[in-house]
Each structure stands twice: as C-alpha cells, then as structure tokens.
C-alpha cells in the first residue's frame, strides 16, 4: 500500500511497528499460556506479561486491572456485555433493554438477538446531529429495564454522546450502563471513576494495535454471565487460552497514543471539513463540534458513494461511504437515516477517518481529488442540473 492515502482508520488501522516489536517475544520465546504459571517459568513470564498488559489497558480507563477482561475485539466485547447482563438479570430483574438508533451492528444485532429470545428493547432516537435525546432515554427506562447501551461516539458520523449525563440517569434509575467506546478510546477522555458507566467496549485495532484483541471493562460487582465456556481464564468470564501477544500489543498501542497526536488528527479533520464544505451542495454529517477528533463525514448531493470510492481508489485513496450500494445488504446507512437523513443523503455520504500515519499534506490532496471526482460524477448525473 505504498503511495496509498488511507483515510478509513475507523475500519482498521495500520499496525505500529513498535507494537509488533513488543509482541514478537510472545510468539517466539514466551509462547506459553498464562495458566501454566504454576508449572514452569515461561508460564510465569506469560502471566506477568498478560497482567502487565491488563493493568495498562485498564489504567487507561481509570479502572482496576481486575475490572478488565480481554476479548477478541469490540464485537465480542459488546456481545458479552449485552448478552451477559441479559442472561444474568433476565430472570431476576427484567427483560427490557434500551439502546440508540445509531449504534454499531454488534450492539444493535445483540439486542435484536435478545428480542428473538423474548426480551424487549426500546430504541431511543437521536437529533439531527446524532445526539441521543436524554428525555426520551429517561422515559424509555422502565422497572423492567436491565441495561442501557449507548455508544461513546458514532462509527460513521463521529458524534459524541454525553456519557456523564446518560450514566447519571442510569444510576438514578438503577440500571446498568454499557458504552461502546471503540472509536473514542484514548482519543476522547473517559474515566470510569468519574462517569457512571458499568461496561465499556474497547479494542486495539482502531488505534494501531493488533487485530483480534479487545477489552471489556466490567465495573466490580456488575452481574455478568459468561457465554464462552472454557477454563477459568479472564476471572472466569471468558474461557479460552489467552491471546498474550495480542494483549501485550494492545497495551503497547495504548502507551503510544498521545494527546498531541489526537490534537494533530483533529487539526487535519478540521482542515478537511473546511475544504470539503467549499464543494457545492456539500453538508457535514454529525455534530459540528462534539465529534470524534479523527472523523469527518460529508454528504455530497447528486453523486453516489461507491462511485466516489472507486474513483478515489484509482487515485490511491481509501475512504468509506454510507451508500446502500456499498453495503453488503444494499441498505442505506442506518446512521444517516437515524439522524433524519434520507436515502439520497446516505447515498452521497463519504467518511474520512484519520490515523497516526496520515500526513498533513494528505488533507489537501484528498480534498482536491474528492472535489474533482465529485464534479466529474455530477457531470454524468441526471440530477442537479436544473
């Protein structure tokens, strides 16, 4: 991917070489599993590495090490949180969940899977910027409600949610609160000592860490039933041999993220948004200020996203779209529809997400290329000429 300008960091990120270096010994030297700690010394080293990594990742959330379990990534973390709480409280407290209309599929489909098993769920709407309606959320909580799951930031339009306020409502109503922090982890501050959140989904692969490793923060005392049976790994909440190289890589990736870097990404984001909004018939999707530092999402009228992507791909630029044509299900982005947008707005929505390996000069290059491609596609479009 030599000359590639990669602006799809919300989907996957390039691994930082320093992360790979940290992981390497755990493939070739200390390849024992942590459960061998009572048998032989490599097991002890493996256990130390795992627990060191756990302390680092948990610490980044202000959590105690024993409040963080490693998983295979954000989808598993969210599945575990939602289905685990449902299983633990379904008989005891109730069978109702609350979520938002624009959650990622791991959350939405976990809730839908529970609905098929007889649980009920209320989906709370969002405003035109993608912010959850807090009054609606409060009203959605019933005595039967066991869990509220609202993301920290949206995967497509980047809008941040008010976790503090949502946590306070959940605390007041006595229900558990899960948040999917896949895209905000280390980019937008979240300290579980200050925010009343009980379960937090995090993952390594959106911050230049390895694929296949994620984490779930579980506040001490939170009822959670495990679904992956196996040994007694991860405080008996997830069976299976630990992914020690992955955990070590995750921790190293955590250490490498700095506030300066995040500020740099926000600077590139702001410049790109400003440049792209100069294109006629362009509008920003998501909140103008309360948004992920690394996310820009713009809808261009009269053009279709997949065509824009393919033209940018020919210029060695990678971005994403909410167009129905691009999705495997031929459905338009539920996020754009969720913020009150129509099919057309989803059709022409382009997401640009920044990461560590983007350079400032990429921004102008991508903005110029996008403007050119959009102009070209508008020339052949039957729309927008009157």
């Amino acid at each position: 991917m030599g000359g590639l300008i990669y602006l799809d960091n919300a989907a996957a990120t390039r691994l930082d070489e320093r992360v790979l270096e940290a992981m390497r010994p755990y493939f070739f030297e200390t390849y024992a599993v942590a459960t061998s700690q009572f048998g032989y010394s490599p097991g002890i080293d493996a256990k130390d590495a795992l627990e060191g990594a756990r302390a680092t990742v948990a610490g980044a959330l202000g959590a105690a090490p024993e409040e963080l379990i490693f998983t295979s990534g954000s989808a598993e973390s969210s599945n575990t949180a939602i289905k685990g709480v449902a299983q633990a409280l379904g008989q005891k407290k109730g069978r109702h969940l609350v979520t938002s209309a624009i959650e990622d599929f791991a959350v939405l489909h976990s809730v839908r899977a529970l609905e098929r098993q007889g649980y009920t769920a209320t989906t709370v709407g969002v405003d035109g910027d993608g912010r959850v309606d807090l009054d609606e959320l409060r009203e959605a909580i019933t005595p039967e409600t066991i869990l509220v799951s609202v993301q920290a930031a949206n995967q497509e339009i980047g809008t941040l949610q008010d976790l503090e306020a949502i946590g306070a409502i959940c605390r007041e109503k006595g229900v558990l609160f899960h948040t999917d922090a896949t895209h905000t982890f280390l980019r937008v501050a979240l300290d579980v000592r200050e925010v009343a959140v009980d379960l937090v989904t995090v993952t390594a692969d959106r911050m230049h860490g390895p694929k296949g490793i994620g984490g779930l923060y579980v506040r001490a005392g939170t009822p959670l039933t495990k679904w992956m049976d196996g040994g007694f790994q991860e405080f008996n909440l997830r069976g299976g041999a630990e992914n020690i190289p992955g955990a070590v890589g995750f921790a190293r990736a955590v250490e490498l993220v700095t506030d300066e870097e995040t500020a740099r990404l926000a600077g590139m984001r702001d410049r790109l948004i400003a440049l792209l909004l100069e294109v006629p018939h362009a509008r920003l999707n998501g909140h103008p200020t309360l948004r992920l530092p690394q996310n820009a999402n713009i809808s261009f009228r009269f053009v279709e996203g997949e065509s824009v992507l393919l033209h940018l791909d020919m210029r060695q630029m990678a971005v994403s779209t909410g167009s129905a044509c691009f999705s495997r299900s031929l459905e338009a982005s539920h996020v754009i529809l969720g913020i009150g947008g129509d099919h057309e707005r989803a059709h022409g929505s382009i997401r640009f997400t920044f990461g560590r390996f983007n350079r400032e000069e990429d921004v102008d290059e991508v903005a110029a290329a996008a403007a050119e491609v959009i102009e070209r596609l508008r020339e052949i479009s039957p729309l927008g000429k009157e």
Partner: protein, 221 residues
C-alpha cells in the same frame, strides 16, 4: 487493486461512452429515483424512416455497475432498430460486461429499463403502439416491479408492499402497505403514478396508503 468488478466494467466506469444530457431528444426515459438510490436517464434520437437509433446518451446517478451498464447499453443499442433494442436482455449485457456481482443486479437492470422505457416513450409519442391491448392487473403489477422500495432497494412487489390492485373502467387503485405519513410515502406515490398513468386506457390512478400499517424497520434480517 482488485475490485469485485471485471476489467470491462471498470473500463466503462472510468470512461463511460455516450454520457451526458441530450438536447431535444426524440425520446427519453428516467428510471429509479434519488430517494431509492440509483437513477438512470436514457435519451434517444431515432431516424423516422428506418426507426433506427441514430444517437443515444445516458446519465447515471449510481454505482459503478449502474454507470458501466448504462455505458455499454448505449454502445449496443446505437444503430439498432427500436425493435432490436427492445430485445436486448440483461443477461446479454451482463455477459458483455464480463459478469456483474449478483448483489448489483438491480443497479444494472435499471439501465436496461431505461433503454426499454425510452423506446416505449418513442413509440407512444409517435403513435407506433400497434396493438392497444387493454391494461390488466398483471401489466400494472409488472410496472410496479419497476418502482423501488427505498428502504431495501428492491421493488414494491417483491417486498410485499403492494396490498391490492383494483382496476375498473380505466380507474386504477393501488393500495400500499405503508402508513400515509411514512417518509417515503409521497415519493412512492409519485413513482407509481409515473408508471401507471401513461397507459393508454387509464384515466385515473389512485395510490392509497394504510394508516394501520406498521412502519417497517429499515433493517430486515
């Protein structure tokens, strides 16, 4: 970088032939709508004597397979008679493009519909419709298959949104299983009217929505 499209599709996508708007076309058809996603416009110039397509242009608001199909279909149709152009099938076009991903069939069918629609438009405008066969419910259903359900990108009939079609003395009533305040209701009404009204023996078209209908979820699994 490999994409799910053949080299021929990508070539037509990159360099679409006969693209753009035609001033004063002899016939024109627009299929699809912005609310549904893809949209294709086809313009024709036809020799009155020979009924051959002397010039053809298309415009596309759509994905690569939509653009490529629109492009290749203009190449195939140019110089053909209207009768020959009507015989062009999706299969034939798809083969000439080196195949299309199955999920993209809808986008490419739209271009074929555009060509057929433009030919029909010419015939209707020039009094060439030989047999005026009376409209039937089957024909109406066939036309409704060209109206998309924007929520899923498949047609109204296939997604079971057409609850009832009533045809009586030139009066058509189409009952759609969507609440009248649904975000796409107005759009669907307009498209249904567009497809049914031009039929020669139809005087009045009514599109009815159902206040009792559940608003379907956007995502269906």
């Amino acid at each position: 970088m490999p994409v799910p499209y053949s080299d021929i599709v990508m070539e037509h996508f990159r360099n679409p032939r006969n693209v753009g708007r035609m001033e004063n076309p002899d016939a024109k058809s627009v299929e699809g709508s912005p609310a549904c996603g893809d949209m294709v416009a086809v313009y024709l110039q036809v020799d009155e004597e020979t009924l051959r397509i002397t010039d053809i242009k298309f415009e596309s608001y759509g994905c690569a397979s939509n653009i490529a199909t629109g492009s290749i279909i203009t190449e195939i149709a140019k110089g053909k008679t209207l009768e020959e152009a009507k015989q062009i099938t999706w299969k034939q076009v798809s083969e000439q493009l080196g195949g299309l991903p199955s999920i993209k069939v809808h986008c490419s069918v739209l271009a074929i519909d555009g060509l057929r629609g433009a030919v029909e438009n010419y015939e209707e405008r020039h009094g060439l419709v030989k047999e005026r066969t009376p409209t039937t419910v089957e024909l109406i259903t066939k036309r409704l298959k060209r109206v998309m359900n924007p929520m899923v990108g498949l047609d109204l009939v296939r997604t079971n949104l057409v609850r009832e079609i009533e045809l009586k003395e030139g009066h058509v009533r189409v009952a759609i299983d969507l609440p009248p305040d649904h975000q796409f209701a107005a759009n669907i009404r307009e498209e249904v009217m567009d497809k049914i009204e031009p039929l020669w023996d139809i005087e009045r078209v009514e599109v009815e929505f159902n206040a009792e209908a559940m608003s379907p979820l956007t995502i269906i699994h």
